[in-house]
Symmetry: C2
Subunit: 156 residues, 2 copies
C-alpha cells in the first residue's frame, strides 16, 4: 500500500500558488473527479473490481440486452480491451450473455441480480457525493453546475 493511500494520489488539495484566476477551477476539476469516485473505487476494490468493470456494469444496467459491439462503441475501447474485464464479470456471474432467438449473431448482455446490486452500490457512492454537494447549494446551484458541466463536456 502506497504511503499516500489514505489521501489518494496527490491529494492534499494542493497549497500551490496560483498563476491564473482559473487555476483554482482547474484544480477543482481534478480533485472533484477523485472526490466523486474515491469511495466507489474503494468498494469495487474489495470485490477485485475497478473502473473499467464499473463502466461496463453502468452501461449494461442502463441498456439491458446491449450487444457486445454496441458496448464497445459506447465505452470507446477496443474489443481486446473489453475482453478481460467483461469475461471477469461473466465468470463472477455479475453479467449474463445469451444469443437472442432471432438475432442469433449478436450476444445480449444483462446484469444478474448480484450485478445489479454491485452496480447500484458503486454508482450509489458516486451519486451520494453529488447529492450531498447539490443539497448544500440548493436547486439553483445544482442547475448552474449542470449547465457549466454541460458546456465543458461539449468540448469534444
Amino acid at each position: 500500500m502506497p504511503k499516500t493511500a489514505s489521501r489518494a494520489a496527490g491529494l492534499h488539495r494542493a497549497s500551490l500558488g496560483k498563476l491564473h484566476d482559473l487555476d483554482a477551477a482547474l484544480e477543482l476539476m481534478y480533485y472533484g473527479w477523485r472526490g466523486m469516485t474515491l469511495l466507489a473505487d474503494q468498494y469495487l476494490a474489495t470485490l477485485g473490481l475497478s473502473r473499467p468493470h464499473h463502466r461496463i456494469l453502468y452501461v449494461v444496467a442502463r441498456q439491458p440486452d446491449i450487444s457486445i459491439g454496441s458496448l464497445i462503441e459506447v465505452l470507446g475501447i477496443s474489443k481486446q480491451a473489453l475482453n478481460r474485464p467483461l469475461n471477469l464479470l461473466l465468470e463472477r456471474k455479475l453479467l449474463t450473455s445469451k444469443r437472442s432467438p432471432e438475432q442469433h449473431r449478436s450476444k445480449l448482455l444483462r446484469l444478474t441480480q448480484e450485478g445489479q446490486r454491485v452496480e447500484q452500490r458503486a454508482s450509489g457512492y458516486e451519486r451520494k457525493v453529488l447529492r450531498d454537494a447539490f443539497d448544500r447549494v440548493g436547486q439553483p446551484g445544482a442547475a448552474a453546475w449542470m449547465a457549466v458541466m454541460g458546456v465543458i463536456a461539449d468540448n469534444n
Copy 2:
C-alpha cells in the same frame, strides 16, 4: 490511431437510459474531465508529452524551486514513477534542476522559458474551456459551480 479518436474514448455523451435522476450529473463529471483536457492532451501529444508531464510542469510553474521530494509529495506518486517523465522534461530542457548553494542536498526545479511556454499553452487550453463555460452562465453560475466542486473535492 483508434477509430474513435475524433470523439475521444467513449464519447458520444451517451444516449443511455437513466436509472436515477443523478445519472446525468454522474455522466457530466465523466465527460467534463475529457472535455476539459482533450485539447490540451492533443497539444501535448504533438510534443511527445502527456498528462504526467503536464502535471509536473503545472506544479513546478506554481512552485518554482520546488525540491524533487516535495514534487513527489504534491503529485502523490513514487519517485520511480516520477523518474521517467521528469528526466524527459530535463532532457528536453523544459525544466532545469540545480542544487542550491546552501541546501546542497536537494535539487531545485524550475521551468525554462520553453517549459513556461509549453505549460502556459497546455494549461491555457484547459482554462479556455472553463472560461467559455463560465462566460455562458455568468458570475453567479460560476460561483455555484466552484461551490459544488469544492464540496465534491472534499470527499477524500
